[in-house]
Symmetry: C2
Subunit: 239 residues, 2 copies
């Protein structure tokens, strides 16, 4: 195998990134093959691959179903200090949000959920699994738990929109506090399959606990995002 | 190769996670070998490996220098809505923060930095590279740019602490606004080497732009964190 020059792949990376930035390859478009990218550049195939992996790590390009490399659409910006939900902030950024309910079932409260909701083990809970898309691309998979006592019959409703709206308008349950914990993670088999990405791809795990004005947990949500789909952004000023 | 049962690895994962939670294996301790973990459980070696990869993805365990699997120390909590720096919030959580300056040099402002700092191309800038550790484990690598005109001679100072403090106390330069953009990423060669992790491991890329009260950029910082070292946490309430 040819020795990779430690700086050469960064040059190839910069070259491809500049062609994307200049609009030669547009978001959603397929890149030329590795062989074509290599041609004329006088670099090894391995160097081109390393540059492509670097761009994938940065979220600039992504792989799709073995059919090659594509230019990533721009990430949406998520500000956890704001109250807007996915359907609102994605649309506000000129993108098309969609929600697909994968399953909605009644379960019984286990030990972990009993602690989170301060409810007895065995109490009925709803478990909702959804996939969310931006401009037709799956970006997150989520697993939501809601106390069935607070929202009886919730899973009979259409949940392909804002769950917070359904809880508010149908059940009068409002959210007064939002605790969001985010951690980078690797997407393992189950999430990766649901997002149609390779297992091991980096992702963001986001856990949201929503409380009502009395401090009771209304909703407990675990989300797994593909890494190139969002930027978490917080802007604070001295008051 | 033996067929992996789709649920069996999650059972093994839960079993190891429970043993860690119960304190049988403590933070920083080495796990038994894969062979030992397999023994008696009646599961395939591949199932044990898949369970370990799952726990690594979740940040519960990590690999060290080919010497096996170790229990991850608990992540530190970082709240981007607060003003505290790394040295303060890590210490406040009962952990030991350290900063190592890897390099500090004068460079000239390029096109990208000219835009960020609103300074002419060619203006002198300082470029500081640091590694930060928690309890002796490298958790982030960062690259900081400071306008040399604002802090002449900055790189003559000891920068193994809080840079914000040096800017404030020595140069009277204070920060009035902090913009933080976070994205999950894969750690590629250069960052991975500096953090002594395998290339491709998930990480968090954090870009911080600090402004003074007049709206001038004081500091531009790019950080790469290993994924199991931090939880980003935001807690907001209706006012």
């Amino acid at each position: 195998m040819q020795q990779l020059d430690s700086h050469q792949y960064l040059g190839v990376r910069d070259d491809i990134a500049a062609r994307i930035a200049a609009g030669e390859f547009k978001p959603g478009e397929r890149l030329p093959s590795e062989r074509q990218l290599q041609a004329g550049g006088g670099v090894a195939r391995g160097t081109v691959r390393e540059a492509l992996f670097q761009l994938e790590a940065e979220g600039v390009i992504y792989r799709k179903d073995r059919s090659g490399w594509y230019v990533s659409p721009p990430p949406v910006v998520y500000d956890p200090t704001r109250w807007e939900g996915f359907m609102s902030y994605v649309e506000a950024q000129g993108r098309r949000p969609e929600t697909e309910t994968l399953s909605k079932v009644e379960i019984v409260c286990d030990g972990m959920l009993a602690q989170i909701f301060s409810r007895p083990v065995g109490a009925p809970m709803y478990w909702i699994r959804r996939r969310r898309l931006i401009d037709g691309r799956a970006v997150l998979i989520e697993s939501i738990i809601v106390d069935a006592a607070r929202a009886p019959g919730l899973i009979e409703h259409d949940l392909n929109g804002s769950l917070t709206s359904v809880l508010k308008t149908v059940y009068g349950v409002g959210v007064a506090r939002n605790k969001v914990d985010m951690r980078p993670c690797a997407l393992t088999r189950d999430e990766a399959e649901a997002l149609r990405v390779k297992s091991g791809l980096p992702g963001l795990s986001l856990v949201r606990t929503c409380y009502d004005a009395q401090g009771h947990v209304v909703e407990f949500d675990r989300e797994y995002w593909r890494h190139d789909a969002l930027t978490v952004s917080v802007d604070i000023r001295v008051r």
